[in-house]
């Protein structure tokens, strides 16, 4: 089993994160879906693109959608898309979250969502000299 993963971000943020994560982990993440929200675009178009990406990513084990900023248009589009296609959204995407989600994608959806939140938080630290 493997949970489908879709990333929805402002502009190409998500594509760049994917590119860097592939470089670090040394493997292709081509099966992760990506939708870019464009300020010039129409919200209904984004919602439709998210639904399409979710349907494509879902192999029967559910879909985890990762977005960059809670309350912003990409996240709001996912909330709307979730009405048509069941899945789980986690906001606050960062590189730590993305790499962990990829590593644990064969875990059940709810557990994977908790991993995403935990790893994303673990990647945020304060360092002093």
């Amino acid at each position: 089993m493997s949970v489908g993963i879709v990333i929805v971000t402002h502009g190409n943020t998500g594509a760049t994160l994917l590119e860097v994560a592939e470089f670090i982990l040394g493997e292709s993440m081509a099966e992760i879906g990506f939708v870019a929200f464009r300020q010039s675009g129409d919200q209904q178009t984004t919602i439709a693109e998210v639904r399409t990406a979710m349907a494509r990513a879902d192999s029967g084990d559910g879909v985890l959608v990762l977005t960059d900023l809670v309350g912003a248009s990409p996240s709001n589009a996912v909330v709307d898309a979730l009405e048509a296609h069941s899945g789980v959204m986690v906001t606050g995407l960062n590189l730590a979250m993305l790499m962990s989600v990829w590593n644990y994608r064969r875990q059940p959806l709810d557990l994977l969502a908790r991993k995403a939140v935990g790893s994303g938080r673990r990647g945020v630290r304060v360092f002093r000299e």
Binding site: I24, L25, G26, A96, M99, S100, N103, G123
Partner: protein, 89 residues
Amino acid sequence: MIAGNVTIVNKLGLHARAASRLVNCASGYASEIRIVRGARAVNAKSIMGVLTLAAARGAELVIEVEGADQQQALEALTALIEGRFGEDE
């Protein structure tokens, strides 16, 4: 359980790609593997765990391994770190 001491010797330290190689190596063994740096211990099969060690060149680590293939795992991880993760310097 067996354990071994190892020092990070490559120039860039335990950076992201090096951490990924370490996790891949550790994940190839059935044993439970922990990496300890000072008071901090992490699961060697977790990329975020390994990265949060923030281990630069010179950092001294302890590798603790427990399981059927513990000897092979400890040797492989020690060789990987002492071999600078395959990096030139």
